[in-house]
């Protein structure tokens, strides 16, 4: 029986909503099949007011064991490092987080806000938000770079805005059932099992990418979204086209450019004018290249691919 506590800081509840869509395993399966004891959750927990405060104190004092602490949302430090702009159960949430992380066996950060700061940390970051162990690419965050949970692991980061439900439940179950040893984390503390391949892996527009055929406008049933519409699929680590969303699709399959939400820099270019849903180019060549591709190679490849591109590539391939 693993005790799990889930709290939200500067959050939109999107990861909770995503979590409730989980299927393998589902949110209820965690409890009924894997014996996880959900002590409390902001949207699902039974207790309110003083009863919850009593439980939180029992956890921080060590009277009640905390196996898994799940955190969604940023750690709010405003104003001036006090954290008073996000109070919970009578005190700044950042103080609860610090105390709970001291006693937790494992700490799992869910979603971009908890991992890297996400949308709330976009400049000028009014809430002085940070992730648990990062702010964007910089290690540190609320807990500091050297933080380790009682089981000896750093914060396990499950990024995404939101994180995919199955990434969440699979990691929680792996940890709860003693498989933490099989977890390997990358430099941003993401489980490699999910975050080594690219969003592009499995994208149905891949052939168009190869032949450099572009979707030039929205609402088209052909073309790759990389060349004009700012798709970050070739340089984003995520399994979005392997483990589909809501069992059905992915952003790029549906015609929406990948925004790179599993990378620490999301949202890219801080949403400055001219950067939303538009590929940034220098003299016609994309500024951000597919990972591992250099500019000269890219230009040569483009000429060859364009010449080789078959006639069908310019027609509606995902036909009515």
């Amino acid at each position: 029986m693993a005790n799990l506590l889930w709290l939200q800081g500067g959050a939109c509840s999107g990861n909770t909503m995503s979590f409730l869509n989980a299927e393998e395993p589902s949110a209820c399966d965690l409890v009924t099949d894997f014996g996880i004891n959900v002590l409390w959750h902001p949207s699902l927990g039974m207790e309110l007011g003083e009863n919850l405060q009593r439980m939180l104190r029992a956890l921080t004092s060590g009277e009640m064991p905390l196996d898994i602490f799940v955190f969604e949302g940023t750690v709010v430090n405003a104003p001036n490092g006090t954290g008073q702009w996000n109070r919970f159960a009578g005190r700044p949430m950042k103080d609860w987080v610090a105390d709970l992380c001291k006693v937790a066996n494992f700490v799992v950060a869910i979603g971009d806000c908890a991992t890297y700061g996400g949308i709330p940390a976009v400049a000028p970051n009014p809430s002085e938000s940070v992730g648990l162990q990062f702010l964007k690419r910089a290690q540190g965050g609320a807990l500091g770079a050297s933080y380790r949970s009682k089981a000896g692991l750093p914060v396990i980061n499950v990024p995404g805005c939101p994180a995919h439900p199955d990434w969440i439940t699979q990691i929680v179950v792996a940890v709860a059932t003693g498989r933490a040893g099989d977890l390997t984390l990358d430099e941003f503390q993401r489980p490699k099992t999910f975050f080594t391949s690219f969003t592009q892996t499995g994208c149905t527009r891949n052939m168009h990418f190869a032949y450099k055929v572009s979707a030039t406008e929205f609402g088209q049933r052909k073309g790759c979204l990389f060349y004009d519409l700012g798709c970050r699929g070739p340089m984003t680590h995520s399994p979005c086209n392997r483990i589909l969303w809501n069992r059905q699709s992915s952003k790029t399959r549906a015609g929406m450019p990948c925004m790179g939400c599993t990378e620490p820099e999301f949202p890219f270019f801080d949403l400055n004018p001219g950067t939303v849903f538009k590929t940034q180019t220098v003299m016609g060549v994309p500024k951000d290249m597919p990972t591992g591709v250099d500019k000269t190679g890219y230009i040569k490849l483009t000429a060859a691919a364009k010449a080789a591109s078959p006639a069908w590539a310019e027609s509606d391939i995902f036909v009515v």
Binding site: L20, A27, C28, L48, E50, P120, F218, A254, P273
Partner: protein, 532 residues
């Protein structure tokens, strides 16, 4: 001599989507005064300032992961009106469908995940319905809890067919949508809807067919339906109704008795050239303000909206229209119940004062004859409201669930209306100007105001449903809707004030989007707070 006043601070209330703190004064076991405080501030409107005009499409769905599609709808329509776009009919339908499936998803999720759990509270152990309630509705393990929570993930599969994923797609853009669904997407969407109906709506929620349920047009019809067959009385709706009466949820949670809706679901042939002015006459579900005491209906107009900040943690003059807000957050947010105590502002109507937003409001407005002849009309909840003596925890929750069948029918209609060979997007010309986009999230009236200047966002303002409902006192001292609804609430056990939870949860308030919706501060001030 009356008993002493006992003050109870409840932090957090929980299961209201965000961190809500409530203070109540109790006298003779009944709430006599109340204050609601929103305790999180993220500053989304500050973040949006000076960004790309389309940044709202990315940022505002993240204001609230629960009604992200509704935020996206507002963000897209706000830019449409600012840029004077043309929106193809397919795109209007696709936007409406996305919003509808998000709302349908929210029904079982809220009902089982957030609301019915309280019916298993030990305070109700003496109710004859208690044992059955625990069997069905206990968190995670209840038979219907598990089915309801799991199946709530299905409608948003349709969202994924349109936008790639739910939550947090940005597939609605000025000029249309990013997707161009195919025949297989449409057919698949249809079968998902059918699955939802055959496995939850009919057998578990209603205990009858949608067609039978749609025959209910009055309170008397409803009571006759309840007694007609055991399947009706024992459905989750039937049991909810009977147990609510037994535990007295028809007796408190009344509120101000004045209601607002922006109206929603623009008609695909009537709003292709959207403007702020022609919206009221173009939406299928009409807008309005209903005054329960006078029993009058009229249309709602965005120009009536005002925000009072006298009791909120902002330092600026009161009673401003959102376009005029200069917004300045106060750094030191101490709770002072006589002065400032919330990040939510007090939203008011210029003439009608404090209004309640939400599904009950929509249904009371749906019972009015004040709109266009072709617009949606439904007299049931208004009739119940009058016969039951006004609003209550029970009626508010019923109204929320009642909408499901209507939204389901509209989703079906949309799937028939798509013309797959026609366009989904018309590329707009970017320009400066002011825009406004509104809708009804499942939780109530939601709208965005945008001002674009020199190709970037000059001002972005959001008023979420919970901003209306959870707001603190306004400058004239009137309580916010939830504060008002708490008055008269009986508290059986001050150590477990589940009744306060009932009232707050009947509003299905959603603090996550309120609290950042009305922030602001000057750029200079913020620089001082910025982390390295």
């Amino acid at each position: 001599m009356s008993a002493a006043v006992q003050t109870l601070d409840i932090s957090p209330v929980g299961r209201v989507e965000g961190d809500l703190d409530v203070r109540v004064d109790i006298q003779d076991g009944v709430v006599v005064n109340a204050w609601t405080s929103a305790e999180l501030f993220r500053g989304f409107e500050i973040i949006l300032r000076d960004k790309d005009p389309q940044a709202g499409l990315v940022v505002t769905p993240r204001a609230c992961g629960i009604c992200g599609a509704s935020h996206l709808t507002c963000a897209a329509w706000a830019l449409d009106t600012a840029w004077r776009t043309t929106v193809p009919r397919n795109a209007i339908l696709a936007r409406n469908l996305g919003q509808i499936v998000e709302s349908i998803q929210s029904l079982p999720r809220h009902h089982y995940g957030l609301f019915m759990i309280d019916y298993t509270n030990k305070n109700y152990a003496s109710s004859p319905f208690y044992e059955e309630a625990v069997k069905r509705w206990a968190p995670f393990t209840g038979t219907n809890y598990e089915v309801g929570v799991t199946i709530s993930g299905r409608p948003v599969e349709i969202y994924a067919l349109l936008g790639g994923q739910w939550p947090h797609s940005s597939y609605m853009v000025p000029g249309g949508v990013m997707c161009a669904p195919t025949l297989t997407d449409i057919t698949r969407a249809w079968s998902i809807l059918e699955h939802f109906r055959r496995n939850w709506m009919e057998p578990m929620w209603l205990g009858c067919s949608l067609e039978r349920y749609e025959e209910i047009r009055s309170y008397d019809d409803f009571m006759a339906w309840l007694d007609e067959r055991p399947e009706h009385a024992n459905s989750d709706l039937g049991l909810f109704w009977r147990m609510s009466l037994d535990i007295g949820l028809d007796k408190y949670g009344r509120g101000h008795g004045r209601y607002v809706s922006w109206g929603y679901l623009p008609h695909e042939d009537r709003y292709n050239k959207p403007t702020i002015e022609n919206r009221n006459a173009s939406v299928i579900m009409k807008s309005g303000v209903y005054d329960g005491a006078a029993d009058t209906h009229k249309l709602m107009d965005q120009s009536f909206t005002r925000e009072d900040v006298g009791h909120a943690w902002y330092d600026e003059p009161g009673h401003l229209h959102p376009f005029d807000r200069t917004t300045k957050a106060i750094a030191k947010n101490d709770v002072d119940h006589d002065a400032r105590y919330s990040w939510s502002v007090a939203v008011t109507h210029d003439q009608d004062g404090r209004l309640e937003a939400g599904p009950l409001s929509r249904q009371l407005i749906a019972g009015g004859r004040h709109g266009e002849s072709w617009q949606h009309y439904d007299p049931l909840v208004l009739d119940m409201y009058k016969k039951m003596g006004g609003a209550s925890v029970m009626l508010r929750h019923f109204a929320r669930m009642h909408e499901g069948v209507k939204l389901y029918r509209e989703a079906e209609r949309i799937l028939r209306e798509f013309r797959l060979k026609d366009s989904w997007y018309e590329k707009p010309t970017e320009r400066d100007g002011r825009g406004w986009g509104a809708t009804e999230a499942i939780r109530g009236a939601l709208c965005h105001w945008i001002e674009v200047e020199k190709g970037k966002i000059k001002n972005y303002q959001i008023i979420a449903p919970t901003t209306w409902n959870v707001g603190p006192r306004s400058n004239d001292g009137s309580r916010g809707p939830i504060e008002e609804a708490l008055i008269g609430t009986p508290i059986a056990d001050p150590h477990d004030p589940v009744e306060v939870g009932h009232v707050c949860r009947s509003y299905d308030s959603c603090l996550v989007c309120t609290v950042h919706a009305h922030d602001a501060a000057t750029g200079e001030q913020l620089a001082a707070f910025r982390t390295a």
